[in-house]
């Protein structure tokens, strides 16, 4: 919305990618107010947004999915973003909606981010097919780790230029902007997810298969993602980290894009998207190796979805993206809910929201119940009571 931000993109190195007709802007942003983004801008620009999307969709011979990228803590991304999500569901009900959402950390600079996030969560739970939550804190830690490695300067530890997942590639970026490194990580996530659709491989996986295999229950569609490797070493005499190490890394907390603890919670399903020269035997061997340490739901013990794409990312011989539907996200959501409650209890800042046409107090309580139910659903799956329905028997 904000003209300033859009202007920067139009002057950047990738300006030729975006047609000016596809940009919709207003004078100012949403002032970190979900209600402004969702109700005010939503109503005002609804027709225009639908038109632009339709025009773009008509160019496609086969529209498979929409990727929505936004943050949860602000006003436009969060409010207008979720409005657009609802819109897409109405206009294109058969097209999958995959959302990449950046969640606020506790030290977020936006005071009202808990309100915005919880209000947006309700929409995401109801209207998205699949959500990939990312939090800034994890991104900061990954960036720190890479910088630490490159700063060490020990022989054998020098990172090969442009192979880190934080280095921008292809663009002539001379001056790195503050969030570039962190944003590149998310970009790599999206690149890896779409790699099977863009390149050939022995075991392809379409985007609709992600939603199909990883979402056993409609509302529980929040996936924990982790990327490896983070970088490649420049020194060729040092052998590349073994393939098996890559699999182990993918399940370590340091490579996750969201702070959560999947190993001590329950996996509902897991997808491994491999790129590069990896064979099915390597894949199976590693799954067998890692399975004992990863708790899976009783009804989905072999809940692994895998794909093999032959083209590795630039600068690497192979890479792995792991997407896990794990009940650990409920702790992340519980924390968010706590922060919401702290503000809501005092009715702090509420008047900014309620003064926006279309926003009512009921909206807050509904959003609160939505996230509480979600947390409850995840917890429920962890309890081991399985409805032990006996199998059907045939009369002989």
């Amino acid at each position: 919305m904000e003209e300033g931000v859009l202007g920067e993109i139009l002057q950047g190195p990738l300006r030729s990618l975006f047609s000016s007709t596809q940009l919709i802007s207003d004078v100012s942003g949403s002032g970190n107010n979900w209600a402004v983004g969702h109700h005010t801008y939503g109503m005002t620009y609804r027709e225009q947004i639908v038109d632009e999307v339709r025009k773009a969709a008509e160019h496609c011979d086969c529209l498979q999915c929409f990727f929505l990228i936004h943050s949860m803590g602000g006003g436009t991304g969060s409010g207008l973003g979720t409005f657009v999500l609802k819109l897409l569901e109405e206009e294109f009900p058969e097209v999958y909606r995959i959302v990449t959402s950046v969640y606020p950390t506790t030290e977020d600079d936006v005071i009202t981010s808990p309100y915005n996030s919880i209000l947006a969560m309700k929409e995401l739970t109801e209207h998205a097919d699949c959500v990939l939550p990312v939090d800034n804190q994890s991104l900061v830690e990954i960036v720190g780790k890479i910088n630490h490695m490159s700063g060490m300067g020990k022989p054998g530890c020098v990172i090969k230029k442009d192979t880190t997942i934080i280095s921008g590639h292809g663009g002539a970026v001379k001056n790195e902007k503050p969030f570039d490194a962190m944003n590149n990580i998310v970009a790599n996530l999206l690149l890896n997810i779409t790699s099977s659709s863009r390149f050939e491989g022995s075991l392809n996986m379409d985007l609709n298969e992600i939603a199909m295999n990883l979402v056993p229950f409609p509302r529980l569609h929040y996936l924990v993602s982790s990327l490896t490797p983070l970088y490649a070493l420049a020194d060729v005499s040092v052998p590349p980290r073994r393939l098996d190490q890559m699999f182990s890394d993918a399940f370590s907390k340091e490579h996750q894009l969201i702070r959560a603890d999947p190993k001590h919670n329950l996996y509902l399903a897991c997808a491994l998207m491999l790129r590069g020269n990896v064979q099915v035997s390597d894949l199976r061997r590693n799954i067998e190796r890692l399975k004992p340490s990863l708790p899976f739901a009783a009804w989905n013990q072999e809940g692994w979805k895998t794909s093999l794409c032959s083209v590795p990312p630039v600068g690497h011989t192979h890479s792995l993206l792991a997407l896990a539907n794990n009940t650990c996200v409920r702790s992340t959501f519980s924390e968010l809910r706590e922060r919401f409650v702290k503000l809501y209890r005092r009715k702090a800042h509420l008047h900014h929201y309620l003064s926006v046409g279309g926003m009512e107090l009921a909206g807050f309580s509904e959003a609160f119940s939505s996230i509480s139910n979600l947390i409850e659903d995840y917890s429920h799956l962890e309890s081991p009571q399985m409805p032990n329905a006996p199998r059907l028997t045939i009369a002989t």
Binding site: D61, C62, Q64, S202, L203, N204, D206, N208, E209, A211, M212, N213, V215, P216, F217, P218, L268, Q279, V280, S281, D282, R284, A297, A298, W299, N300, Q301, E302, K305, L308, M386, P387, N388, A389, R391, L392, T393, I394, T396
Partner: protein, 377 residues
Amino acid sequence: MSVVSLQLGQCGNQIGHELFSIISSDSNGPNRKKYGDKAHFSQKQGSGNNWANGFCVLGPRHEEVVEDLVRREIERSDRLAGIFTMMSVAGGTGSGVGTYITQCLRDLYPSAFILNQVTWPYGAGELSDAILVHENDTVHQICSRLMNITHISITDVNKVMAHQLASILQPAHTAHSGGQYCRNPLGADPPTFFCTLHTRTLADIFLLSTGELLTSLVCHPEYKLLSLCNIPQMSSTSLAYSVFNWPGLLKHLRQMLIATAKMEEGIDWTVSAPSVVRATEENGFKDPALYVPWLQTENSFSTWNSSVPLNGYEKSATLISNSQSLLKPLDSIVRKAWDMFASRAYVHQYTKFGISEEDFLDSFTALEQIISSYTHL
């Protein structure tokens, strides 16, 4: 006499490709098989691993196009022996569209035999005449233990499956054909086991003839699951140093059958059939203890010869059996599926394409029926 083959889904197409490579490299003559220019149909989007999407949405949507393609192939052949489809059952297109198309083809060509080759890691087809099952796990083990391939790729796995399939789709002699290649190999007698042997003699014209194959193996509509054992399977380096003889090969096959082993290594030689017939190895297969009592032994087993050596192996033998060997894997698949269904996991993904919980229950009932039939053999 020809068989029209139909490759469905990612798995089906990959296996089909390997199968035809083997077949065309085997027949050195001018009959190298090529796919017709228009003999394919693809769409940009898959079925998303959803059987319901494949069966209810994509199947009907593309029914006409696929039927046209099949009809064109059939018109080109002089006489249709049967239809051979290849697919996986775990995915969306292979299993969903595959079963839908099988249904349509059955309606269109009621007298043709339909053989479905399926790759397991759910469903079974009621409408096909026979279902030939390959399990990915087993083939993978064959790759690793017998063939010494350290980094097994999907192509390796597919090649093994294709080799096994190619071994049965060869022209063959039977006891009745008197030295000539049989025009319609299997007679009306219903044997339960079928064995092809290849020796190094003359090469010959390539014909596919599966009609008889099916009548012999599938004697009862409730028992349609076939499994395949092909020996030897080994790496090309060992091949140069190996010598085979028929008695040895047949003995191995027989024991593999009794002990339900899927490959040559690790056969449990301690398992034996209740009564052992001491005779030549070929007669070993005629042991009545191996077969169900309601079939006469002479009808239960037949042998086929083909003179063309298969894919570089001097001698190879294949056993196709309709037996209880698939019972355990089928049972475990049904158990896992039932667990998932009991928790209602993923069910919403299917209901949104028009499958109801009733349909799920129907499928489970059908499968339990099959398991029960095979258990009580």
